[in-house]
């Protein structure tokens, strides 16, 4: 399987090269465009050579195997045939772009965009997994936005490119939802596996919602009514881009997907009516719109819309005959639409206009372009033995089998399209006029439209052979009958008669329309979906603006409140999460301690909430912190009590410094009932959550392991410290890293301003100085002692560092000269760095003796146990000390409190 497939992907390699070498493209723009075109052309021929006798193959690599999503590609004669078309037309388009945009500085970008577009389209064609297909699908949307928006300096172009993007992306989002639902319904997201289920009745049971969502993606992409409006608007892109978008890529992705899944999904009762209606309405809209157009490209866009409508109709029928028609119609359309657009680009370049009446007689002034335009136009109109005629014949044939009435309607619609074709062709052939070309057209632009025309002619001449090896095989792979063969003459069938009738009707329509005195064509009933879309978009933007204004009122309270309320609602759900277990609420310690500490905490909290002066605020916050520390101490957490005590001291120190410096009076706002109510509700909710969390029962807490192995495996009796520096040391490493980064951030925010501040003066009070120096001198030894005993008794690196920092804080308080900002800054970052290095070294040391990262290495001598966790704790000590010093230096109180 791989043996066939991988060589088939080789042609994609030059594409990748072209995509990633914008420098080369910039240097040799002309040569590189032609070079890429030659590479793509060779790739197209290679792909084409694969088609005869190709067995359906699939290749996949696991991607998200647990969800059944693979990076899977498939190839059968139809996809290979289509891929060859894409590559071949891509070659022509890139060749043309090299000439058309030769003077544009953005040429490299456009070439890269076109190459990427080719790749994305090939991905859509060859992807087997629907999710993978979706990725490529969205890539085509994004790339077409960039390409259509080529003249992005113009407001109008930006608006139209955005419109195309929004419509196709919105459809794509719906399609993703549809894919998920189809995946869960059929149990597979692989196209090959899905098609195996054809006819087993499972498609009938697919929910209509899923089908609709899925179809929305395909219909928006293929610009089907009522989403048709974006396609004519996308004409603002340069000619080669339009040629590619309209012929083989982008819009063809939608109908391709429809036709691929048609055998399976047409069993669903909604499929055929919905797609037939959309298809017919699209054709009607396109013809009505085309009648009024005088712009060459816009008229061509309308004929594309009509062709897409027919293709959707064929995919909607989903019968073998319809898929037979689909294959030839798709091929014919790709082969005539690309040269038409490329030729239109040449005419625009040469004559500086796109108005059909001004281009009258242009064909004979640019003979090569004219030949390509006329042959392709004949194919479009179905006049003469060209693939376009085959497409229309098989379209009518397939519809006739379905319903003669439908066939009559289609014939009438086709007559309109033929009328449009005549409107395109006849002015060009007007021999009485001879407009003068203003600019010479370079050879790549002349050659590019001729190549697909050459392909068309080869196809027609070699039709019997092409039938067997290429077209027939491709159609059969899509679902048409085996041994399918196309021919022009089927005898005097009803379809043929209808076609003749359509031709007569078309001539009549054209005669009426081309009368010079018919004045402005009356606007017939054209469903105005574009204004609806635009209004909806404007309304959405307005409401977003309104919501933004309301949500971002500039009041912090409002802002925070808006975040808190949903959070509270989520938390409310937590109250019902599990059952209550009153036994968990039992605790030791008695009510006496609460009677002692509870009221103090309650009063301090309320005072802190209402505090109006700096001093009240500081004192009340201090009380809160100290009571919490005492609480920790009472409930068997000496380490926490120590940490809390030290952190609280430092915090108050900082807060006092800020309040003194910024001169902010703590609180002047009046009492607010709303705030109080939110606060009260939050308090009640948290009370409930705390009770709930205490009432939950664990059968076996994780910490049972920690307690059991603390002494024997980690040689430490203080389990809290052992958890921090050994069992969960990686977490701690992350935490000290965060602290170091916070210290650096603070330095970055304030560093420059502080450097110029004068050195602080010594304190006025000599006694305070002596006392503070005495205590500060003690803190370092005490800190080292706390660090050392931490593994077995309350203490450890965190606590030790905070104690040492308090000593530095005392020296700052008396404005000791050694505590100048620059010295502190240096000490801070050096300590942080040293601490991180020590911690990292201690974690990496075990690797040198073949142990795991962070595994403890120990050295024992009697009762003395030394090991890497102790070293790690030293790193923690240094980092936290550096961090604390880094912050303290910002808050030296210049005036006594």
């Amino acid at each position: 399987m791989t043996g066939v497939f991988l060589p088939a992907l080789v042609p994609l390699l030059p594409l990748l090269v072209a995509l990633f070498l914008p420098a080369l493209v910039r240097r040799y723009p002309k040569a590189s465009a032609s070079g890429v075109a030659v590479l793509l052309g060779a790739a197209a021929l290679w792909m084409l050579a694969l088609v005869p006798g190709l067995e359906a193959v699939r290749i996949s690599w696991p991607w998200v195997p647990q969800m059944g999503i693979d990076l899977a590609l498939r190839m059968d004669p139809f996809t290979a045939w289509f891929a060859a078309l894409v590559l071949g037309l891509g070659a022509c388009v890139i060749l043309h772009a090299g000439g058309y945009l030769a003077k544009s500085p953005q040429l490299p970008g456009v070439l890269a965009g076109l190459c990427g577009f080719t790749l994305a389209m090939l991905g859509v064609i060859l992807a087997d997994n629907l999710y993978l297909l979706f990725l490529f699908w969205e890539a085509t949307s994004l790339l077409s936005f960039l390409l259509v928006g080529f003249h992005h300096e113009k407001e109008e172009v930006r608006a139209k490119a955005s419109q195309a993007l929004l419509v196709t992306l919105a459809g794509g989002a719906c399609m993703l939802a549809g894919i998920v639902m189809i995946h869960s319904h059929f149990g597979t997201a692989s196209i090959v596996d899905l098609l195996v289920r054809t006819g087993d009745g499972s498609a009938n049971a697919l929910s209509s919602g899923a089908l609709l969502l899925f179809l929305l993606g395909a219909l928006t992409k293929s610009a089907q009514w009522p989403f048709h409006f974006w396609l004519p608007n996308a004409m603002v892109g340069p000619a080669p881009v339009s040629a590619f978008l309209h012929s083989a890529t982008m819009v063809k992705a939608g109908v391709f997907l429809l036709a691929t899944l048609a055998p399976l999904l047409s069993a669903h009762p909604l499929w055929t009516p919905l797609l037939s209606a959309c298809g017919v309405l699209t054709v009607v809209t396109a013809v009505l719109r085309g009648i009024r157009e005088r712009d060459l490209k816009a008229l061509l866009a309308c004929t594309t819309l009509a062709a897409l409508g027919f293709l959707t109709l064929l995919a909607g029928m989903g019968t073998p005959e319809a898929l037979l028609g689909f294959t030839i119609f798709l091929t014919a359309h790709a082969l005539y639409k690309a040269p038409l657009f490329l030729a239109a680009g040449n005419l625009e370049k040469a004559f500086g206009t796109r108005r059909i009446d001004e281009l009258a007689g242009a064909a004979k002034c640019l003979p090569w372009t004219g030949v390509a335009f006329v042959i392709s136009g004949l194919s479009l109109a179905g006049l003469g033995p060209l693939p376009g005629l085959l497409g229309k014949e098989y379209l009518l044939k397939a519809t006739w089998v379905q319903s003669p009435w439908l066939a009559a309607a289609v014939a009438a619609a086709a007559a309109g399209v033929v009328g449009l074709g005549l409107k395109l062709l006849l002015p060009m052939l007007d021999w009485r006029r001879r407009p003068e070309p203003k600019v010479a057209v370079p050879w790549p632009m002349k050659l590019a439209p001729l190549l697909p025309v050459l392909g068309t002619l080869v196809l027609v001449i070699s039709l019997p052979a092409a039938n067997h090896h290429f077209l027939g095989a491709a159609a059969a792979a899509l679902g048409a009958p085996e041994e399918a063969a196309y021919k022009f003459w089927h005898g005097w069938t009803p379809a043929f008669m209808l076609g003749m009738g359509a031709l007569a009707l078309a001539w009549g329509v054209f005669r009426v329309l081309s009368r010079p005195d018919h004045g402005p064509v009356p606007a017939p009933f054209l469903p105005l979906f574009e204004p609806i879309f635009e209004h909806a978009l404007t309304a959405l933007k307005q409401s977003a603006k309104g919501a933004g204004k309301w949500l971002q009122s500039g009041s912090p309270g409002m802002q925070i409140g808006l975040m808190l309320v949903p959070l509270g609602l989520i938390a409310l759900g937590g109250l019902n999460a599990a059952s209550w277990n009153p036994r968990g609420l039992e605790s030791e310690g008695g009510v006496a301690v609460w009677l002692l500490l509870g009221p103090v905490l309650a009063v301090a909290a309320v005072v802190a909430a209402k505090a109006r002066t700096t001093l009240t605020l500081l004192v009340s916050l201090g009380f809160v912190g100290m009571v919490v520390a005492l609480w920790f101490l009472w409930f068997s957490a000496p380490d926490l009590a120590l940490t809390q005590l030290m952190a609280e001291t430092l915090l108050l120190f900082l807060l006092a410094g800020v309040l003194k410096k910024t001169g902010v009076e703590a609180n002047r706002s009046p009492f607010s009932t709303g705030r109080a109510l939110i606060a009260l509700a939050g308090g009640v909710l948290v009370t409930g959550l705390v009770l709930k969390s205490m009432s939950l029962q664990w059968d076996k807490p994780i910490s049972a392991f920690h307690i059991e192995f603390s002494k024997p495996a980690a040689f430490g009796a203080n389990v809290v410290n052992v958890i921090l520096v050994d069992f969960r040391a990686l977490d701690t490493l992350g935490e000290i890293l965060v602290l170091a980064i916070a210290a650096m951030g603070a330095t970055a925010a304030l560093g420059a301003a502080r450097r110029r501040s004068p050195l602080p003066h010594e304190s006025d009070s000599p006694w305070l100085g002596v006392a503070a120096r005495g205590v500060a001198a003690l803190t370092l030894p005490v800190a080292l002692w706390l660090y050392w005993r931490g593994h077995n008794e309350p203490g450890g690196g965190f606590i030790a560092a905070l104690v040492a920092a308090t000593g530095a804080g005392l020296l700052l308080l008396i404005r000791d000269r050694r505590m100048n900002p620059i010295a502190l800054r240096h000490a801070s970052w050096k300590l942080c760095l040293a601490g991180l290095v020590v911690a990292l070294v201690s974690s990496l040391l075990p690797l040198t003796v073949g142990k795991e990262f962070f595994a403890g290495l120990w050295w024992h001598h009697g009762d003395l146990h030394l090991g890497t966790p102790l070293l790690f704790d030293l790193g923690v000590f240094l980092t936290v000390l550096g961090f604390a010093l880094g912050f303290l230096r910002h808050f030296q109180p210049n005036r006594p409190l």
Binding site: G589, V606, N667, R675, T687, L691, M694, I723, L739, G745
Partner: protein
């Protein structure tokens, strides 16, 4: 006892929220300090409250309190201190002094 502790934590939260929602420049920071205390106490309480049984295993098989919430809260205190200190820095910076 547990109920009383939970109510105290709730009161701390209420005080913190009231402050947090205030319009003043330092209100948010003071509110966060109070909320931080409440959250630390809450996590601590979720690990069950035991008196006189610190998680220091000097003799085997003696039941001790759950050390894991304590380890979590210990780092939470330091990190919380770091956050508040950073906010204070930004406050100083934005007040331009």
């Amino acid at each position: 006892m547990s109920v009383l502790l939970a109510m105290t934590i709730g009161l701390l939260v209420a005080a913190g929220l009231y402050r947090l929602l205030g319009p003043g420049r330092l209100d948010a920071i003071v509110g966060l300090i109070l909320l931080g205390q409440a959250v630390n106490l809450g996590i601590f309480a979720a690990g069950r409250l035991r008196h006189n049984a610190p998680a220091i295993v000097t003799e085997p098989m003696k039941p001790v309190t759950d050390p894991l919430p304590q380890a979590l809260v210990l780092t939470a205190i330091v990190i919380g201190f770091g956050i508040i200190a950073f906010l204070l820095t930004l406050q100083t910076r934005s007040s331009g002094k």
